[in-house]
Subunit: 239 residues, 2 copies
């Protein structure tokens, strides 16, 4: 982890999350925006770095500017469950921030990533004074809660094939595909894929090979190129 001190870089990164077209900060008055820029800090993380840790208190509202991040939660057995995959631009760890609780999961950079951390009091002030911003947070939390509830059921009820198929679909949903419209834009280890789908690494590897043998997808190292999205969706639906 490295704090970005270069003024221009800092400003550019901040603006990514403050001025972005879908940003909840977008419509703030200039005064609030400039306050945000002045008080927030930007940090860069290398692939594999932890951005925050399960059990710790959030230090501010953290926005992912670039890179990819997995949100994982330790289970009793030591096996990690990937709770969510985060993409830029979006908040990470904002659940704990708004619940005023410790983090219940950790965030780890899947690629080199940059985040912007905003001062707690300032953000809370903005939520209280700007109802559109508050509504955005409410909608984001409600959407995430829906995702989590849906996930609970599929991870507990679907069989291995269905779980893995669904995970691949979720990954496309989140990160999209390369220009060929087939290769996932995210390159996960088999272990991460397993932790996302609630299975052992061996079973992720095995099931992935089966999918390849069946012509659903092609594997090339960490690249997953899906040949037949319909079939994949069908496998996911079947359970």
């Amino acid at each position: 982890m490295r704090t970005i001190k270069d003024k221009e870089l800092h400003e550019r990164y901040c603006n990514t999350c403050i001025e972005g077209p879908h940003s909840p900060f977008h419509e703030l008055d200039d005064n609030s925006k400039s306050l945000l820029r002045q008080t927030s800090i930007c940090r860069s993380y290398k692939k594999g770095d932890h951005i925050y840790e399960e059990g710790n208190l959030p230090v501010g509202l953290t926005c992912l500017i670039s890179g990819k991040v997995k949100i994982t939660k330790k289970g009793i057995t030591g096996r990690n469950q990937i709770v969510r995959m985060a993409k830029p631009v979006g908040f990470i760890g904002y659940r704990a921030f708004f619940a005023e609780e410790n983090h219940i999961a950790s965030a780890e950079a899947l690629e080199d990533s940059i985040v912007c951390i905003m001062k707690t009091e300032l953000v809370i002030g903005i939520v209280r004074s700007n109802s559109n911003f508050a509504m955005n947070i409410i909608r984001a939390l409600a959407t995430d809660l829906g995702f989590s509830n849906r996930r609970t059921v599929t991870l507990t009820q679907k069989h291995i094939r269905g779980r893995l198929a669904e995970s691949i679909l979720v990954l496309r949903e989140t990160y999209g595909c390369e220009k060929d419209d087939a290769t996932l834009k995210v390159y996960l280890s088999r272990e991460d894929l397993a932790n996302l789908s609630n299975m052992t690494t061996s079973n992720a590897i095995r099931t992935l090979s089966n999918f390849a043998a069946e012509g659903v997808l092609e594997l090339n190292g960490k690249a997953i190129k899906v040949i037949d999205w319909d079939l994949l969706e069908h496998i996911s639906h079947l359970g």
Copy 2:
């Protein structure tokens, strides 16, 4: 289901959720409160009635006034997962309401229950104009999301005994105990207990009997009297 038309009854029920000490409506101005009272409707449901159905659009913000409600989500296999147990006074189906989505789960009364349904536009107006109310909603959603994430991991990773033990602890957390400080104040069928803990009914019955044989708890019909909370917590922690 029966709509409550008696004016006095209606007012009394409304006040339960508007004036209650922990109610997010508590501190509204009198004008908003009276508008809420005038425009909201109260309904009573018999045990077993469905209050809302997976796939439907929320008709308003629904507040549980009295009774107990289970929130269930259908899986692929047909098995239901109980996503949450609701107690009065509290909102049900508010996730879908605020996400502006269809319900992803159904609500069924476990006992005779009464709910109050508030007009969508009015509630949204209140959220937008009252930052404390908005913060309450944010905090509630963030808390529920934490619960859901934690549940996802334990339901997928813990073994049967751990899952059932945890469910019983969650039930105490939610509904509390009778005066003996040992008997759960909620009386679920074995099937509901199973659906809460992600297992088959047979296994819920079997595991419950095992707990009884081990002296962790005593069973008397649907009543669960826990003898050794520490041991139960230990079993839950062990997984």
